[in-house]
Symmetry: C2
Subunit: 247 residues, 2 copies
Amino acid sequence: MTAILKKGERIDQLISQGIQIIQSPDVFSFSLDAVLLSNFPRLPKKGIIVDLCAGNGAVGLFISSKTQAKIIGIELQEKLADMAARSIQLNHLEQKVSIRQMDLKDSTNVIDPDSVDLVVCNPPYFKESALTNKNPNPHLAIARHEIHTTLEEVIETSAKLLKMNGRLALVHRPERFLEILQLMEKNRIAPKIIRFVYPKANKEANTILIEGIKDGKPNGIRFLPPLFVYGGDNQYLPEIREMLYGK
Amino acid sequence: MTAILKKGERIDQLISQGIQIIQSPDVFSFSLDAVLLSNFPRLPKKGIIVDLCAGNGAVGLFISSKTQAKIIGIELQEKLADMAARSIQLNHLEQKVSIRQMDLKDSTNVIDPDSVDLVVCNPPYFKESALTNKNPNPHLAIARHEIHTTLEEVIETSAKLLKMNGRLALVHRPERFLEILQLMEKNRIAPKIIRFVYPKANKEANTILIEGIKDGKPNGIRFLPPLFVYGGDNQYLPEIREMLYGK
């Protein structure tokens, strides 16, 4: 088992899904947001799912047991794509999950436009700006800041990849919410299901989950019950615990 | 006390605010949404507050003890405006609260444009359509359906009335959310604070509270902690109970 690991890496588990995943604190570790995203969209039973900004492949691996669809991860950073490829092997999921190391803008070169049933994406959250305090570690900075891609590119690319009535599911920060709605509208994706995530019951939302349908009708938006992460005792609440550890 | 009442009317109370209010099940009774709205926006200490679609004056009366601002209600229906006027007398609030019976589109004839600190509005929720099941009672139908005004007119009128950095606070249904955002943007009102109201913790949102700032910057949107109305025992939860009955 150690041969599959490179320097500084370790194997973590998502117990609820029986998935092992190669992580590296110096390069990339999946966050709770990847777990939230992997539990959010309605998954197609078959067809093609694309995970943009796939990182170490967490989201694709986490949903793999719940669908017969082919899952294709797109990740720009070579080190992260390499970790994802080894995690796919580690879980014996080569027949179902794959990873392509490339800029997401080029993904239509390897995946047919208008062919994808679901795009999932946990993109960099923060706008690129000279004034922003970026992580000095370039791998982490690229994953968190819009250095090599932007929200606009993510949504444009998703709209190209998706078939009619295909769905885009994003996790993001509430402060980008209006921009997400505007970019979805511009790219003919109708927002349909929104869920706000609150760190605790008495706190403001710090995460948003949003699902849109390509060429969907612009009506019938639904706001799911809110999701709270921690209880008053600072322990994960049951819904989160189940996402992580199962029933 | 009975002389102030007309046929079919009764006096109800909002205990938390010590307000008596004339209601008529045949014409108009305030709903929980009026109570939610009156507890939502930050109130200016002084200046002018306008309550559009004021009905029997509930929202204006409910906020009156919490601000030194002049409160002007605008209500199209004569019977409702008349009830509001008598409730204002009943509470001895003639110096602070007034009601004008008129179409809200004409409100700039009696209130200076760009002069208002806060507009509050609990508008008709449902689009006017030949297919809609409307209430056969015309008073109730006008209060609930966009027969004599529309969301667009409400937001346009609010934008005209508000001074720069004045605020608009609306209560509405989540299915109109995208339209509210679009109309706010069109009328230079930046959405700033949103609170979703859920009937219970495990239900989808059925009400939205939204506050926008005229000529505000289009960033910094906040999503307040969710508000649940009923507990598992179908009783009002403490936050709602306090709005109704006080501490």
